[in-house]
Symmetry: C2
Subunit: 352 residues, 2 copies
């Protein structure tokens, strides 16, 4: 009675989210710092006003605030250029459903965000996977023509590598592709560049962002897409009517309004990232330079899975990722300095 593609797929397995408290959690790229106090205040106000009414269906308050904030990089932007979602996963789902039909092809690099594979599978589409080069760049294979290709995803910064393709290169890829390109900028606030301006030049570039990472709001579920208004108009037909709840809309709007919190927290994460990179390399890890809030590394001795398990047994969760032939390693989230100290101490013990 089910669609055959649903029965045959395995489903996306999110990183472990232990219910208990006492874990050093460096496995799902959460921000280790509490969110802006303005978020709690805004949520409190909504609770006070009551939750019995439906939220504004398009998260207009957020879109107005975000358009103002992003105009520095994309002068043409108005609220009509923004679609909000229940986390950027919701936005990626909406994009896939808008562009991709059963039997179509979806292209994305490997190793990258595993969800793209799942989204294609749910649509009954075929994945056209293109391996990154050893230098984390893409060859012309990524822009190769294909009649059935309907959508391409590019996480930039990429996960698990933390690497970034420069905007000029992404623009070249977008122009060469025969289909729209989703630039998934979930981690972009930790990077040196972004692709927002490309949206102004092409209706085939769609940038997605989330408040989960840089705004420390993974628990709130809020993300958004930026695209030209005629694209947003089609995406809006596919989203659930009230996909963002009243608390998330108010909290997200407050979050992007607190620039002091953002600057301070970003600086702290980048500082700890630099230290973590140095310390891992000092212990013989092979690490990729990261522009995200995590570091992709291969431990000395070449057995990342065993090290992941031994760390987990010691109450320290990192993410072991196995992309088969193309990559195996550990993705370590940049935590607080205390969390990183706990990790390093335990590594010294385990690698002795």
């Amino acid at each position: 009675m089910f669609r055959s593609n649903i029965v045959s797929m395995t489903g996306y397995t999110p990183g472990e989210q232990p219910r208990g408290g006492d874990v050093v959690k460096l496995n799902t790229n959460e921000n280790p710092y509490p969110c802006s106090p303005a978020v709690k205040a805004a949520i409190g106000r909504v609770c006070q006003a009551g939750l019995q009414k439906y939220p504004e269906p398009t998260a207009l308050d957020f879109r107005e605030a975000a358009a103002e904030l992003l105009a520095a990089e994309l002068p043409a932007i108005t609220p009509e250029w923004i679609l909000c979602g229940n986390g950027s996963d919701d936005v990626l789902t909406i994009l896939t459903r808008t562009f991709v039909d059963s039997g179509d092809h979806v292209r994305f690099p490997r190793p990258s965000y595993v969800l793209y594979d799942t989204l294609a599978a749910i649509q009954g589409a075929k994945c056209d996977v293109v391996d990154f080069t050893p230098e984390w760049t893409l060859t012309d294979r990524f822009t190769k023509h294909c009649d059935k290709l309907r959508l391409a995803f590019l996480a930039n910064p990429n996960s698990p590598s933390g690497t970034v393709l420069p905007p000029a290169e992404v623009a070249r890829i977008a122009a060469a592709l025969p289909c729209p390109l989703v630039v998934d900028e979930a981690y972009v606030d930790f990077a040196d560049s972004n692709c927002l301006s490309l949206v102004g030049d092409s209706d085939r570039v769609i940038v997605t962002r989330t408040l989960s990472k840089s705004y420390a709001l993974a628990g709130l579920r809020f993300g958004f897409a930026v695209a030209q208004p005629q694209v947003i108009e089609q995406l809006a037909k596919v989203k659930d009517s009230y996909n963002c709840d009243a608390l998330a809309i108010a909290g997200a709007t407050a979050a992007i309004g607190d620039r002091a919190w953002f600057d301070r927290t970003r600086a702290a994460v980048l500082e700890t990232r630099a230290r973590l990179l140095t310390e891992l390399r000092a212990r013989g890890f092979e690490c990729v330079d990261s522009q995200a809030n995590f570091i992709w590394c291969q431990p000395p001795g070449g057995d990342p899975k065993s090290l992941y398990e031994r760390l987990k047994a010691a109450g320290i969760l990192v993410r072991y990722m196995d992309y088969g032939e193309s990559a195996r390693g550990l993705r370590v989230t940049v935590g607080t300095d205390d969390q990183i100290d706990a990790l390093l101490t335990k590594l010294d013990e385990l690698l002795k």
Copy 2:
């Protein structure tokens, strides 16, 4: 560049959600009372603990509490029988994506919840619409065999009529249908019966519920499906990993735990519903006996659209619904007694 079915569809238009305050809002079946204070307390605790981490991906706290609550009517239920969603719209979306492919057929009655049409259109499926009889029952046309039929929806209580098909009749329909039946029980807490026990007897019956109406939490977005575990297992592959946020999970769990609030609020809504029905009939409205928190009616004079507009101009929002040949009328949400007084006073003035 878009799928053709997306471009050609019009998209679901939710009821008006005015941003300002001073409207008597009787148009989208919200509960007029504030939610249980336990909800605010639970949300406050989550805010205090922080929002930086991802929520538990399956809303386990809620599923445990709900299984305990619903065991009275469905003894076999465990948390594995429940799938949670970002409002029951999310659950209906997941169901459609799990069962329905491009070119398949989806069956539902008319007039009913307009979203079923939208969900089918997004999948590229064909709507097989079956008119209710004048007595709001369904003929054998609803269970007719069709090779392409993959899913049937039945809102029970139905919107806009507020009518209910008894569980025995729903069981007969489910057994006769060649596909799974979704019994959408969004309004069931205002009714005299429900179909939960049918889920125990058949893996082809799926019951969906929402906390938007009877728990006064439309702003929070929380709904769930009850089905046999082997069905839930497939649905879970299609949902977004973190489709319910941490605040909604905690709030929803607290809400269903406060039975005193529920009983008191339900009783108040039912009492006002009875009064509204009497008063509308006294003014010459043709009304359907309702088991939901709204009343479907045709005003005297036969021009529901004009009356809707005149009420709106006076700051009173009801829902004008136009299903073409099959039905036109006003759906009036059961508000507080004060709101209903305001409506009746204005009606007396307009219908003079």
